[in-house]
């Protein structure tokens, strides 16, 4: 679509103007013409801005007590995380867990990792968690496809693994 003002450049700014008698009018302008008209516009919101806008309402829900949370490892507080939308260290994920879960839910639609697990340095505990997660996933799939016999087998495997984990 071409800019309705200069008819030369492509229109990148699309505005809907509602006049006093409730008549809607769409305006399509290029960046230059919008600037000349002194229209307030922004081409691209920065990622931090978008994230901050997600974090803010969650912060309010969390209550003041949680807002003063500070990571004992890197010293960053929740307000700084909210402002920068960046973590200070790996421990922040645990310290701010309550606050970040809803954010992750909004961004990714999930709060649980299902992918690769490090094989090298992190010990066998994590690998067992991985095994459990994989089994849970399989169980979900089998139930969905109504393969109940196989699902029961997986359910038993999960039980066994969980008891073994407890006794270890």
């Amino acid at each position: 679509m071409l800019c309705k003002n200069c008819n030369k450049r492509p229109a990148t700014i699309h505005l809907t103007e509602i006049s006093h008698n409730n008549v809607k009018q769409e305006i399509h302008l290029c960046e230059e013409c919008a600037q000349q008209k002194g229209l307030p516009y922004k081409l691209q919101f920065s990622l931090s801005e978008v994230l901050s806008s997600l974090i803010e309402p969650i912060m309010t829900k969390m209550g003041k007590e949680n807002l003063n949370m500070k990571c004992p490892n890197c010293g960053i507080d929740y307000a700084t995380f909210q402002k920068k939308a960046r973590f200070g260290c790996a421990k922040d994920y645990e310290v701010f867990k309550k606050g970040i879960s809803p954010i992750l839910e909004k961004i990714h639609g999930a709060t649980q990792h299902y992918g690769k697990f490090p094989q090298g340095t992190s010990g066998s505990g994590i690998l067992k968690e991985k095994e459990l997660l994989d089994l849970h996933r399989e169980l979900e799939k089998l139930v969905k496809s109504e393969e109940f016999e196989k699902a029961a087998e997986i359910r038993d495997k999960i039980k066994k693994l969980k008891t073994r984990k407890k006794t270890e």
Partner: protein, 359 residues
């Protein structure tokens, strides 16, 4: 290997080979990783950053990743070198344009690349590590195997920050989980011409994909080139993200092909005129800006793909894309050039490449 060596060759990811390479220029994978025992770069001071670089360097040497891969400390690179690496898609804009350290010499960032320019590791970009793979055409699965293996070798020597709930922990919550971003750079001139591109964007956004310009995050699209990437990194296994991408991208390729045919059938004269005009300008103009270059090369590239232009190959056009960018041009010229001088030099570069010597 020296940075200058990049000028003697074109990265294999530009050779125009691989599946659907008429429409997919390149496939890219990026993994974000951090170390457990250091603060993230958001908080790290210059000293800590240098420590991180040193720690990672030693680990990569123990893992025998360096060599064969080559290590470059940013303190040894000029601003022109870094822009060359950016134009080569080996580092991000943030990495290239980061201000020098307190001491005036930036020893707190580094880059590791292989000979073929198909894999690179950025050290201290937004995360401690950004592992990247690049291939020509639509080859995400093959590329994933290669990068996954490199990552697995690295994690035996590096204590990655990881939690069983949130996966690989990253500085920004948008990358947590797999830390994995698949991107394909596609050339969609017919969808742009037919104004179908908005529909594609809307559909992609609905399924949580993002569309960016030629040089990635923060860059505008030029000459009908777009980079399509997955947004979701948490809650899905790498293989699932991959197989979804392998379903989505071919649909876009099909859509572009359908519109190319439609344009050729219904607007044959305008389409041919656009392509031959672009070729004519590239062969004869005296001054060409970088923006115009993208438009012209885009038209010529489509001309080759639909069998109209027969004396040029996709690989040659891909090479011209890279070498006509500012940092590359100035290397060829052997001196710094102002914007206007660059436009003149760029035009003469194209004339040299495209005019056959008279018999």
């Amino acid at each position: 290997m020296k940075i200058d060596d990049l000028m003697n060759k074109v990265g294999t990811w530009l050779e125009g080979k691989g599946k659907d390479s008429d429409i997919v220029i390149s496939s890219r994978i990026r993994l974000a990783r951090n170390l457990d025992n250091f603060v993230f770069l958001t908080l790290a001071n210059e000293e800590q950053k240098k420590e991180i670089v040193g720690f990672i360097h030693n680990a990569l040497v123990s893992a025998k990743i360096i060599p064969p891969m080559h290590y470059f400390s940013f303190k040894d690179l000029t601003s022109a070198d870094k822009h060359l690496l950016l134009e080569r898609h080996l580092i991000s804009r943030d990495h290239a344009e980061a201000p020098n350290g307190v001491t005036g010499q930036n020893g707190s960032r580094a880059l590791v690349i292989n000979d073929k320019e198909t894999s690179s590791i950025m050290i201290n970009e937004e995360d401690h590590l950004r592992i990247q793979g690049l291939r020509s055409g639509f080859q995400l699965a093959e590329l994933w195997d290669e990068i996954n293996e490199l990552d697995s070798r690295m994690e035996k020597h590096l204590p990655y920050a990881f939690s069983s709930q949130f996966g690989y922990l990253t500085a920004c919550p948008t990358n947590v989980g797999t830390g994995l971003r698949f991107s394909v750079m596609v050339h969609l001139p017919a969808l742009v011409l037919s104004k179908q591109i908005e529909k594609v964007f809307q559909a992609l956004t609905r399924v949580k994909y993002t569309v960016r310009g030629f040089l990635g995050e923060g860059s505008q699209s030029m000459g009908d080139f777009y980079q399509i990437s997955n947004l979701v990194t948490l809650g899905r296994a790498e293989k699932d993200i991959l197989s979804e991408m392998e379903n989505v991208i071919p649909e876009i390729i099909k859509y572009e092909r359908t519109w190319r045919e439609k344009l050729l059938n219904e607007q044959a004269n305008q389409t041919k005129d656009r392509i031959w005009r672009a070729y004519g300008i590239l062969k004869n103009a005296y001054t060409i800006t970088s923006g115009e270059t993208m438009e012209l090369l885009s038209a010529v590239r489509m001309g080759i793909n639909i069998g109209l232009i027969k004396d040029l190959t996709i690989a040659q056009v891909n090479e011209m894309f890279i070498f006509s960018q500012p940092a590359h041009l100035q290397r060829i010229a052997g001196e710094a050039l102002g914007p206007e001088e660059r436009d003149i030099f760029r035009a003469s570069y194209f004339r040299g490449k495209l005019t056959k010597p008279s018999k």
